[in-house]
Subunit: 217 residues, 8 copies
Amino acid sequence: MDNYNLDTNREERLGFPEVVYGATKSVDLLKSILGEYQSTGRNALATRVQVEKAESLRRHFPNAEYDVVSQSFVLRANKLEEMDARVGIVSAGSSDLHVVNEAYYTLNFLKIPAKRVNDVGVAGIHRLFDRLEDLKMLKVLIVVAGFEGALPSVMGGLLSQPIIAVPTSVGYGVAAEGIAALNAMLSSCANGITVMNIDNGYGAAIAAYRILMQIDT
Amino acid sequence: MDNYNLDTNREERLGFPEVVYGATKSVDLLKSILGEYQSTGRNALATRVQVEKAESLRRHFPNAEYDVVSQSFVLRANKLEEMDARVGIVSAGSSDLHVVNEAYYTLNFLKIPAKRVNDVGVAGIHRLFDRLEDLKMLKVLIVVAGFEGALPSVMGGLLSQPIIAVPTSVGYGVAAEGIAALNAMLSSCANGITVMNIDNGYGAAIAAYRILMQIDT
Amino acid sequence: MDNYNLDTNREERLGFPEVVYGATKSVDLLKSILGEYQSTGRNALATRVQVEKAESLRRHFPNAEYDVVSQSFVLRANKLEEMDARVGIVSAGSSDLHVVNEAYYTLNFLKIPAKRVNDVGVAGIHRLFDRLEDLKMLKVLIVVAGFEGALPSVMGGLLSQPIIAVPTSVGYGVAAEGIAALNAMLSSCANGITVMNIDNGYGAAIAAYRILMQIDT
Amino acid sequence: MDNYNLDTNREERLGFPEVVYGATKSVDLLKSILGEYQSTGRNALATRVQVEKAESLRRHFPNAEYDVVSQSFVLRANKLEEMDARVGIVSAGSSDLHVVNEAYYTLNFLKIPAKRVNDVGVAGIHRLFDRLEDLKMLKVLIVVAGFEGALPSVMGGLLSQPIIAVPTSVGYGVAAEGIAALNAMLSSCANGITVMNIDNGYGAAIAAYRILMQIDT
Amino acid sequence: MDNYNLDTNREERLGFPEVVYGATKSVDLLKSILGEYQSTGRNALATRVQVEKAESLRRHFPNAEYDVVSQSFVLRANKLEEMDARVGIVSAGSSDLHVVNEAYYTLNFLKIPAKRVNDVGVAGIHRLFDRLEDLKMLKVLIVVAGFEGALPSVMGGLLSQPIIAVPTSVGYGVAAEGIAALNAMLSSCANGITVMNIDNGYGAAIAAYRILMQIDT
Amino acid sequence: MDNYNLDTNREERLGFPEVVYGATKSVDLLKSILGEYQSTGRNALATRVQVEKAESLRRHFPNAEYDVVSQSFVLRANKLEEMDARVGIVSAGSSDLHVVNEAYYTLNFLKIPAKRVNDVGVAGIHRLFDRLEDLKMLKVLIVVAGFEGALPSVMGGLLSQPIIAVPTSVGYGVAAEGIAALNAMLSSCANGITVMNIDNGYGAAIAAYRILMQIDT
Amino acid sequence: MDNYNLDTNREERLGFPEVVYGATKSVDLLKSILGEYQSTGRNALATRVQVEKAESLRRHFPNAEYDVVSQSFVLRANKLEEMDARVGIVSAGSSDLHVVNEAYYTLNFLKIPAKRVNDVGVAGIHRLFDRLEDLKMLKVLIVVAGFEGALPSVMGGLLSQPIIAVPTSVGYGVAAEGIAALNAMLSSCANGITVMNIDNGYGAAIAAYRILMQIDT
Amino acid sequence: MDNYNLDTNREERLGFPEVVYGATKSVDLLKSILGEYQSTGRNALATRVQVEKAESLRRHFPNAEYDVVSQSFVLRANKLEEMDARVGIVSAGSSDLHVVNEAYYTLNFLKIPAKRVNDVGVAGIHRLFDRLEDLKMLKVLIVVAGFEGALPSVMGGLLSQPIIAVPTSVGYGVAAEGIAALNAMLSSCANGITVMNIDNGYGAAIAAYRILMQIDT
């Protein structure tokens, strides 16, 4: 029995390579999988790698980078300029940063420059209006919010680009698991907002990449 | 056995009289209860009286008024000027009008002038900004929204008055029962927003009245 | 008090005009709103107009078209060729057609030609493989499914375009309200699939349009 | 990228300053944010600061106060007399104290004297009747309860002031997350009770403050 | 195949006979089952018999009685004096009467006299205190409430008898299906309250009967 | 566009032909689909065909049979002897018959004789013990129950055959949608019970057929 | 401010003294409360006292007893003979023992002898039949079960005494929080079963005591 | 009182012996129970034995085997050849291995050879097609998947054997507890798929064994 079965031709088939979901894999399994990528000279990204596991992995892959906020583990990150950003990653609060960064590092892995605009939630909506002209320059917007999840709805009424909304598990009481924000985003009275699973910054980045591939062809 | 037991000293105790919840009462029971009020020369309000039941009741109480949108049945409505409004009732969409009107007719019954501002939801947020100066004049704001329920959060960041948020059962899919809007309002990142049960325009009006009683003493 | 408040500059702001949500509006309100559009020579679309209401409306707007499957009411539909299709609307079962058609008529209203591929669900997956080459020609894919909602996950592993998944309320037992399909789509192990609210064909069409606007600029 | 974006003009806009939500922020982020407040000579309040994080912070801000029950971290608390209390904070059980104190320290931060009346839940309702005359003296009542959440309903039938009900996550089984108490409060047959999110003592205090601002103008 | 299989020796085994659940049975099936009881000279009770079905049945069983409020269909009701009541059936509101009566007619079928005390809910709690001495005379209390379901908790702190709480599906929004009242009753801070399924007046009566059988032996 | 896309080679692929799910299809669509089957001389089964739709269909297919309890519409039913039964379909109550019959007619369509044992639920468990020896003769057991769904758990501890449990939407309050029975069956402490969706008698029959095909090879 | 407010006249009012809910109280608060009881020579019981807290408490109250399975902390337990048992506490599995013991120690505190019958769940129902004659001797039955919660339904069809069902949070998947067992018990097709909150062994004991008080008067 | 009550004649009654559920049992209780098995020379299996408990147990039973992935503790495992496999255990992702192995070790305990096919989920569906011919050789298929749980639906359309679907608690957001996968499997549009509780690999193995016993008689 083999415990895993890499989808090695995904890049040929879909235009982007497989990324490793680290949360439920053991350190040993992660070493084997990342080692396979490294041995063929490719970049690799593992998401949701818990801190202790990342420390073990870095001893094995000394040149890797690790973003502790989003728990992203990267073999050979790219150097990209934010001023060329094609994707905006906008967050409602500073507690949403783990999702922002997961999207950011995934786009980096795909060689897409992105710009992060943090803490512009609706409790002080003037902070969003201050950044509106900047945001109009971008091709795709990833909008990240916990609590009541209102930010994508407000942005959807002000901006015409594709909006990929990502609810976060930030809050307490009825908000604590992210369901309140998720349902608010799905129910948005603003038109044409698409939604990802709770905390799924990685998926939002891939969704943005699928759009960019169509723009570029 | 008596089937009902009016709380006749509520006005002395709390400052506002009992209101009749009509949805699950038979026409006969409503006739008895409203008849008791009428026989003592008092106003009366029955909420959630379905259309067919209201028609029967109007044959019995020919001077009553009935608002079909909110299903409010009123014995002797008051004449109040909107220009003296102390409470604002703001709605996100024109489909929320049944709740707006339930609050409006309850305030009318309590002799409180109120102003309705409809269809200013966040999908076109400029409509709200157009009305902001008007809204600053009011003592209490009732904010009614279905779908994602974002309007109270945005208003809570812009206005300093007490905000009583009322989710509505307007929408479809995950929004259809009003739970998405309810949870969004409870989870609001805006500060100090209070929340009522879904579609509870009546309760919002009483909550506003409790505040006005304190302002007036 | 005005009961409604049209967002007349939405087209200037966002690139697409307002569409009327008909489910909870009265015939009279729909006549007023659609009349406003007609009087300025514009096309108009009302979604979720129940059959009886549509019949009343057609007496008033004799040139309107009505799609009974999706309950879409259109003032002046466009004539578009399917062979120029830019968006694919793929469904798992023939019971999902109400959502397929809501997306189709919305795209038509926005002058986007679309191609419908029906009844290719995973219980007989060869039906999908038969259409794969056709689907690769399109810029955006809207994928509609009820029951277990597996179709977008399978397509996400085979096709590289943006995929907008729409769960439907088709099924019984735990599937009946569409929550099973919605959660399956949000949880997809395929990468970068975005999701709409249950039965929201209209929103999926607008989301596709947002992408096409970026491709076209 | 800036990780946070303080809403510095909130006091001018709304009449009360921003409060820091500490639960999901790192110690370093809290130090930066609180430091900004301190450097401009202002008071500051951080809510939901876990014990270990508070210990680190106190080494940095030696004059700060920390209430371990509610996890409130205060730079320069006010000295207020309870005998001038304008707000009553009433709790059903001694296990609800974390929420009582969060409301109390927030009101203190806003310079509002408040009175706490603990452990008067409906299992021994005579304890409430003993305090009824005292409670009639106050302008606003915050009522905190876990388990079945019945206390606000009983008080709503006995007292005429604004009542802000706060469910707590105290209990086990179906009560454990506070949803049972929340839904009971939202469904109250008593009139005009408003509700906050579970455990949201902070929000209740701000809601009371919004009312007091209207009373004082 | 036989479509049904009466539990004819239940009375010998448990001390009370089988009762027919009418809601999902056809008129024809009810006629067969009730006919079997009648042919052996026994009383019979069918619960939840919808009005139209009851009308058909009464043509077949002309001496039967039917309580339209609780939809109870009785072959040969007993004549019992309320002054000998051993069970109290207490309700919070007049909308709970369908459950009160289902319990009442079931106890009647079991030859237990019961007393109904209606509309004494916590929004006007003095109405309960007026009846407290009467209630102390009874052996078992069935307490019926919808909305927030607080009445059993208050009574549990005031009265020492067995309390069987029955939530009702009365209310709207989060209360509408009775879950809010059910969870409040299960979570009661009052001690030793037992709970039935929503609207299960029949089951409450049997539970009371099980207790009375132990008292009587 | 074709609205449907029959899976015509299912029988070759899986060993059993496609069955038509009738609940959400129009009469016209059902006529087309069933007509295709008829024109090739094959049997056909449509499940969940509502009564009014069945009446229209029978005018078109005069030799068809229709079971009103399970809403099964059959073109050319088979004649099978119950004494050769290989599958037992056991139900807890007579209200579960719609699911029993859906399984029965599906097995008939597949030419598998089945035996129905009705109304042997756990409230009178001796009724089950009376039939135990009969049940031991069968190859597969389909066990159908609503309310608390306990019957499959009890049978799983007494009988060694494959048990396919089917929860039904029979009951009220927390049982009304079948979720209580479903979760009880999934959680069974008896070993190796498999579970179908609520009311899915059709699926249970196919699952039994998959087992019989393995027994027969 | 006093943090707690003992209900010292509960015994006079209801016939049983207050019991302390330990789970959310600090060791210091528990010491104060238990000290008050001890200083007046009374017995005391604290439920849900976590192990570490119990160890601190035992250093303070060296004669106390602690049952680690149910986390019950008792000042001066009673000596009672099981052969005089009036209450049976029956459990489905050996993992339910924490609830069994909570009920047992509460009854002991109330001086009621009780008999525990463990591990007789429906997966091996003959184990229950072996004990049936013993169980018929008891006045009240407390029935404790996790997983599918079927045991009270089976017992309710076999035994005529009052049955107090207690669901436990034992199991995994859909059973893990006890909701599956709770809903199964509430939905029982057996008649007159009453239900407690999940894991509420304490409440079940008080409910049994309320019945015994009526039997004894 | 005995804390447990082994079902020692289960093998005679059902054809397979009792297995011990270890998650909620103490080490001491497990030692007693496993010791009873060992003392009579039988094999024994305890599932869900946490790592620390397993370490204690192995000191007591030095010849036992422990699979850390599935937490299965086995007294005397069998030696079986995979090439004789009668059951296939197929998983969607390498994170599902804990459930795969629980099924595998349970089948081993029952002396059934099984074959594991891992990581063939629908995001790269060609991996499944590569194994299709192998899978057609097996008598029963256990299909294990987390996230959206689509794999059993796809397999159900391609393979004719009995399919026992097991959802896993693998994923995050709406997938995290396994409910999304469970509901998708129950709602499958593929025919005749049966479903187990979340993570219930043990139950799936027993269900497969019940089928094999029928094939073998």
